[in-house]
């Protein structure tokens, strides 16, 4: 195959291109041609297609997510808001905390262990890229019916993957959720949250500026992992009839990630980094275009210098590869040597792959020939924005009216009936002890865990001298949200808020993972619109801004969507973790009070 250079693209304007296979719509492809004034090269097409996918561009959700900013309550605590890898919150004493919850639903259904493991790996790198040391993880999970054979395939693998990766990284698992409901049968939800801590002055942003500064790619070698995964996996309904669309699965290497964490924290400590970005879903396409568009100049990359695991990869594939455990840093020339030495110390491969230019374009070369010449913003931020049609579902009224009547759901009248009800509740998978799962997670590592399972919220000490701590809880109820998306989302927030408060911390900020069905279905889109409106209003009312989050759409099997499932995480601060309040009775003779009505 000949190389599709920029020159070649200019000379062969009518060459057929696989834009549809890459998940682009016809008008999107036309827009790319418009932007470039010519047809895109293969490499450019690869970049636009992954970056304009639903997963990366939020094209269906953007118009609704805007409310989180517009309705954001006045908060002094917010240091970095929505838009960066993760939001950053001031927790006092010079400390800042960053946290975010993300989904890895589809990959976890295909390959439960690796899908869940790389979900943890991805969110941890997001937190690390802000300049923070990751200090804890949580895992809100949803499965199909507990007794369904496929749950038996999916659940143990997902739990082992979360544990296998998180335990090996040395991050305590301080909480999560496990909910069983048949609606998640063909589409389990694997959401993962990470919390990181830093000093205010350590905040780093994904930004490339200063002509002549070097672009360094470090971490794992690039392989053929998950190529096309972003556009195909996250944007299309998972469909058994098209096995060819199944991309190669990403395999995680938690040991490599642990080295990446320590190495990155050390280069931060020595102030060797001007800008940094983790390589997530869209790999190098995302890292280079986002770094370049947030900076002041352009960027030039020599793609053939990228260390490969598979020497046969084409430029397109290298740009789209989702190989895990990689980061991209912008470093001043005179600091490169020290940067590389620290990487060597940690056995981390690091390569200068390009530099910041004083131009305005992202230019990528392959053995001297130019294969990409684009305005980086158009790739990273100017993706399509859809006003998807939405309408209250025709069945919504009937669903709400379908309230349990005294005949259909009689209240227990006798002691015996009450006992039976209690036993039924206690024996249901959703109420049963989660220790089979939580016992597989290390909750003690790092030695700062103040509260973890079975507490209402997870709490960690972040300063050993002053006992400053933070606490996080996640909640979400798909059944409530289906009944009434606006109120359901608010209830999720209220519950997480209460769980944080109950542990003794003051709620400060919110992150959320919005798991919904197909945005092309107006019913689902209405659920989404209502849920975001509800959450934004509730955040405003409670004074806790949304600092970031994630949207996962196309969670459905065939035509049937999952229950709308916004998972809401609340972060709180506690000045002295000695004042935490654990659940359970501490001592004989204590009184029991019921608050609220």
């Amino acid at each position: 195959m000949t190389l599709d250079t920029v020159k070649n693209a200019e000379q062969t304007p009518d060459a057929a291109q696989p834009w549809a296979e890459l998940g682009l719509k016809q008008d999107e492809y036309a827009r790319i041609r418009d932007i470039l004034g010519r047809r895109p090269t293969g490499a450019e097409l690869a970049m636009y297609s992954v970056m304009w996918s639903e997963h990366c561009s939020y094209k269906s959700s953007k118009v609704h997510l805007k409310q989180f900013g517009e309705k954001a309550p006045e908060s002094d605590a917010m240091l970095v808001g929505i838009g960066e890898n993760a939001g950053v919150v001031d927790v006092g004493q010079g400390y800042a905390v960053t946290f975010k919850v993300e989904s890895h639903n589809h990959p976890s259904y295909i390959e439960p262990y690796q899908g869940a493991a790389t979900g943890i790996g991805g969110i941890v790198r997001d937190i690390l890229a802000m300049g923070a040391r990751p200090v804890a993880v949580m895992d809100p999970l949803r499965f199909g019916a507990a007794d369904h054979p496929d749950t038996r395939r999916v659940l143990p693998g997902i739990v082992a993957g979360i544990g296998g990766y998180g335990n090996c990284l040395g991050l305590p698992n301080i909480g999560g959720e496990v909910v069983f409901d048949p609606c998640y049968q063909g589409n389990p939800l694997v959401n993962a949250l990470c919390v990181g801590v830093m000093k205010h002055e350590d905040i780093h942003l994904a930004k490339a500026s200063g002509a002549g500064n070097k672009v360094i790619l470090y971490g794992a070698r690039t392989g053929g992992d998950g190529i096309g995964g972003v556009s195909v996996l996250a944007s299309e309904t998972f469909d058994d009839s098209k096995p060819t669309k199944r991309p190669a699965v990403q395999v995680g290497d938690p040991f490599q990630e642990k080295l990446l964490i320590e190495c990155t924290l050390e280069v931060f400590r020595e102030q060797l980094v001007l800008g940094i970005q983790d390589l997530g879903g869209a790999g190098l396409s995302c890292a280079t275009s986002e770094l370049a568009s947030a900076g002041s100049g352009g960027m030039r990359i020599e793609l053939d210098t990228v260390p490969l695991r598979d020497a046969t990869l084409s430029p397109e594939e290298i740009l789209m590869s989702e190989s895990q455990e990689r980061m991209c840093a912008i470093v001043e020339p005179d600091k490169v040597e020290r940067f590389l030495a620290i990487c060597e110390k940690w056995d981390v491969i690091a390569t200068v792959i390009g530099e910041v230019t004083d131009g305005e374009r992202l230019e990528i070369f392959w053995h001297g020939e130019q294969v990409v010449d684009v305005p980086p913003r158009t790739v990273a931020h100017d993706g399509p924005v859809y006003q998807r049609p939405y309408a209250r579902p025709s069945w919504q009224d009937a669903l709400q009216a379908d309230a349990p009547t005294a005949e259909r759901l009689a209240r227990p009248a006798t002691g015996e009936e009450l006992k039976q009800t209690l036993l039924k509740v206690a024996g249901s998978p959703n109420q049963a002890s989660k220790s089979w799962i939580t016992d597989q997670y290390d909750r003690f590592v790092i030695g700062n865990t103040v509260l973890a399972t079975p507490e209402d919220s997870g709490m960690i000490r972040i300063d050993e001298e002053t006992n400053l701590g933070v606490s996080v809880a996640t909640d979400g109820n798909g059944r409530y949200t289906k009944l009434d998306p606006y109120t359901g989302a608010q209830l999720a927030l209220a519950e997480a808020y209460r769980n944080v408060a109950a542990g003794g911390a003051k709620p400060l900020a919110v992150s959320d993972c919005l798991n919904f069905g197909s945005p092309e279905d107006p019913d689902v889109m209405w659920q989404f619109a209502e849920a975001t409106r509800g959450l934004a209003d509730a955040c405003q009312a409670l004074g806790t801004p949304v600092t970031g989050g994630n949207v996962s759409l196309y969670n459905q099997t065939g035509e049937v969507a999952i229950h709308p499932t916004p998972v809401v995480a609340v972060l709180g601060v506690i000045d002295d973790v000695n004042r935490r309040t654990p659940i359970g009775f501490a001592d004989e003779g204590h009184h029991l009070y019921l608050l609220g009505d």
Binding site: A160, N167, G170, F255, D439, Q440, Y441, F444, V445, R461
Partner: protein, 232 residues
Amino acid sequence: MTTRVGVVTFPGSLDDRDAQRAIRLAGAEPVALWHRDKDLHQVDAVVLPGGFSYGDYLRAGAISRFSPVMESLIEQAKLGMPVLGICNGFQVLTESHLLPGAMLRNNHLHFICRDQKLRVENAATAWTSDYQAGQEISIPLKNMDGRYTADRRTIDELESEGRVVFRYLASEEGGLCNPNGSINDIAGITNAAGNVVGLMPHPEHAVEPLVGTGKTDGLPFFTSVLKQLVNV
């Protein structure tokens, strides 16, 4: 002069900073040792911490065992320097044959994390003199490959010489006594001289009432070695 206790960091060590904290709380000076550095920096004792050194790839502890720092450590351990291997550190000690036997995958094939009750069987080692023989303690356990095994002769030797230092016990709430299928419920052992001790559970996670399980049953490990060093 303060007592210096080294903590080795291998690539993938996780509980190294925790071990340093425990040493500090016990009143000694923690000294960070690096796997590539042969120099033990005049430490008086060494802790090999928990974690997943080299990802536990191949076998837990198998790759770390060949680190430069281990060459010096093996030499010094044979000369009597107190060495404590916790979890992954224990695995490194068996892989380097400073302690007999080997660690296998837990018999239930899962990672297990829980508060684990133990009986101190031998309070005469460098790391257990602040306990009473027969004392019951509770410290966190968290591992994937914690099943201790050795051939019959080795086990008989360990038992007859009193070199089984810790044994797993059932907790008050009941539950399985033996968390992983370890032979004779063995949780930790020592060498013949009593200076090298390895165990799977984590004393360094039980040194402060505020965090972890809220117990401090692990602190005597570190005060024991301190006393022993001050006395010599």
